[in-house]
Symmetry: C2
Subunit: 314 residues, 2 copies
C-alpha cells in the first residue's frame, strides 16, 4: 500500500487504499454535503480504520493521505478556500491536524478535477503526456490543465479548473457561477432541462414524453431520428466544440482527455469533437489528440501518489 | 545602455537602445512583411549601427538583443515557429547567428504580446503583480498571461497568447484562425466593417456616411446618440466582457491590463469592463483589478531586460 485516498463528492465519499497505479481496496459511504464537512470526518476515519484492518495494514505503511475535494482548495496550505453549497464549513477546518491525529500521517489535498487529471496522467489515458487538458462532462463541467509537466494552479488556485466556465455565448444564459453563456450553462446535465424547454418543438416531441431528459436519452432519441433531439444534440456538441477549442487555445495541450458521466455517449461525442477540433483549433504545430478518460471513478483516487510526491509541482 | 531591442510589426520595425526601465533612443523604420524577414535584417543592422554610433555606445555594452516578433516564437531555441502572412521565411532564419555576426552579442526572442506583458510587468502598469493577463485590443486581439510570476509559454509556445481566439459565440463568425466566434472575429478593428454591415440599421445611419468605421468613430457617434452606433458598441463591449471573463477564468490573475489602439476610447471601455468583470467573473477571493497599459508602443521594447535576464522563466 502506497497511500490512503479519499474522493469526496457532494453526496458520497470514496475511501481507498491505493498502490502505485491501482486501487487496492475501496469503500463508498454516503455523505450529506449540506450538513457540512465536520460531521463527515469521523465517518471517513472509521471507514479507513476498517479498510486498513481488513487489509492488515497500518496507515503509516503509506506515504500519506490524499484528499480530493469538490471545491477550490489551497494545495500549498491544504485548506479549503471555496465551496459551492456543499461542505460550507470546509474553510474553517484543519484537515492536516485531523489527519495527523487520526492516522499520524501527512495530508495533501486538491480540487477533484485536478486530482482526476493527476490520476489519468499517472496511471491512465494521459500517461506519457506532459501537456494535457482534462474536461469532465457531467452534472456540471469540470476541468484541469497541465502545462509543460506542471499542474496549473494559479494565484487563487482557480487556474485551469474553470474550463466549463469560459463563456461560449456572450449573450447567452446566466450561469450559476455568475458569468453569462458559460459552456456549463449552455450544455451540461444541469442545464439540459432548460435547453430542452427553450426548443420550440420540444413539448410535442417523443423526448418530452420520457422525462427527466438525460444526455443518454437525448443521444438515443437522436439516433432514432427525433428531430428535436437532433437539434438539441447538435447544439450541445457545438458548445462542447467551442469550449474545447477555447481550452486548447488557452493551454496549448497535445492531449485532451474527456471524462464524466456524459461520456457514456462517447461513441457520438469523441468523433464529433475530434473532427471539430481538427477543423477549428488553431494548432499550426499539428493535431491535438482527443481521448476518453480511462479510470472512471478511480481517477481522483489514483491522483494520490503524484499529489503526495509533488510530481506535477514545479 | 542595457540592451538592444527591436519590435517588429507587420509594416514597421522599432529599433531601440534601452536602459533598465526606459527607452534611451529609438528609430522606426518601414518594413514590408510580405517580402519576408531576410531583406529586413540588413535594415535592422544598419539602424542599430546608427543608433549606437549616435549614442557613442558599442553593442557589447548591453546584455544582448531582444527581438519582439509578430508571430509564434520558440523562446527556448530563438526560432520563429509560425507566421500569419508576414515574414513567412521567418522559420528558416537563424537570427541568433545573424545577431552574433552583426553585433557579437546574444539574441533572445518572443512573441510581441508576451514582450508587451513583460514590459508592462517590469516597467509599467503591471509592476508588482505576478499574476497578470494582458489583452491588446487593436487590429486583432492579442494577449499574454503570467501565472505565479512565470510567463505561460506552453508546449508549442501558444499558451496564453491566443486570448483573442477563445470562442465567445459558439455559432458565430468564422475567424481568420479557423475557429468559430472568436472574440477577435466578433469585436476587433478587423471585424468591425462586417459587424456594421450586419446591423440592419447601418446603411441608413450617420456612421455609414463616415466610412471607414473605426472604434474611435463608433464611440463618438455612440456618444452623440446614434442608435446604430450604440447597438454595435454595446455588442462589442459585451464580447470583450465575455472574453475578459474567459481569460480570468483561464489564468486566475489579480490584474488585467488592457492595451492596443482601441484603448484610445479607454474612458468608455475601462469602466464598462471593470463593472462587467466585477459582476460576472467568478472570483470568490476578491476582485480582479482592471487597468490600461502604460507604456504604449514602448511596452515590447521594455520587455527586453526581463526577457534577456529570464526574469519570468521558471
Amino acid at each position: 500500500m502506497k497511500a490512503l485516498a479519499v474522493d469526496l463528492g457532494g453526496s458520497h465519499a470514496t475511501c481507498a487504499l491505493v498502490g502505485d497505479q491501482s486501487v487496492l481496496v475501496s469503500k463508498v459511504v454516503a455523505t450529506d454535503g449540506s450538513h457540512g464537512l465536520e460531521p463527515v470526518l469521523p465517518v471517513l476515519r472509521e471507514t479507513f480504520v476498517g479498510l486498513l484492518s481488513q487489509s492488515r495494514m497500518s496507515a503509516s505503511d503509506g506515504e500519506g493521505l490524499a484528499f480530493s475535494f469538490c471545491g477550490i482548495v489551497d494545495s500549498s496550505t491544504q485548506r479549503i478556500l471555496a465551496t459551492n453549497g456543499k461542505y460550507d464549513d470546509g474553510p474553517t477546518l484543519d484537515l492536516v491536524g485531523w489527519c495527523r491525529e487520526s492516522f499520524g500521517i501527512t495530508l495533501k489535498m486538491a480540487n477533484d478535477a485536478r486530482m482526476a487529471l493527476l490520476g489519468e496522467w499517472y496511471a491512465g489515458a494521459a500517461r506519457g503526456s506532459n501537456d494535457v487538458v482534462m474536461i469532465t462532462l457531467g452534472t456540471g463541467m469540470g476541468g484541469a490543465a497541465m502545462v509543460q509537466g506542471q499542474l496549473l494552479w494559479g494565484k487563487h488556485f482557480q487556474a485551469g479548473c474553470l474550463g466549463g466556465h469560459f463563456p461560449v455565448q456572450f449573450n447567452g444564459r446566466t450561469c450559476s457561477c455568475g458569468a453569462i453563456g458559460c459552456a456549463e450553462a449552455e450544455a451540461s446535465t444541469v442545464s439540459l432541462p432548460g435547453l430542452c424547454k427553450s426548443n420550440p418543438g420540444y413539448e410535442s416531441s417523443e423526448l418530452a414524453r420520457d422525462e427527466p431528459v438525460t444526455f443518454e436519452k437525448l443521444f438515443q432519441y437522436g439516433q432514432k431520428g427525433d428531430h428535436v433531439a437532433i437539434e438539441i444534440r447538435e447544439r450541445c456538441l457545438q458548445v462542447w466544440g467551442a469550449a474545447t477549442v477555447a481550452l486548447i487555445h488557452a493551454y496549448d495541450p497535445e492531449l485532451l482527455v474527456l471524462g464524466g458521466g456524459v461520456m457514456k455517449s462517447a461513441s457520438v461525442i469523441l468523433p464529433y469533437l475530434q473532427n471539430y477540433i481538427h477543423r477549428h483549433a488553431w494548432t499550426p504545430w499539428g493535431k491535438v489528440k482527443v481521448c476518453a478518460a480511462e479510470l472512471g471513478n478511480d481517477a481522483a483516487l489514483l491522483g494520490a501518489i503524484p499529489l503526495l510526491r509533488g510530481l506535477a509541482d514545479r
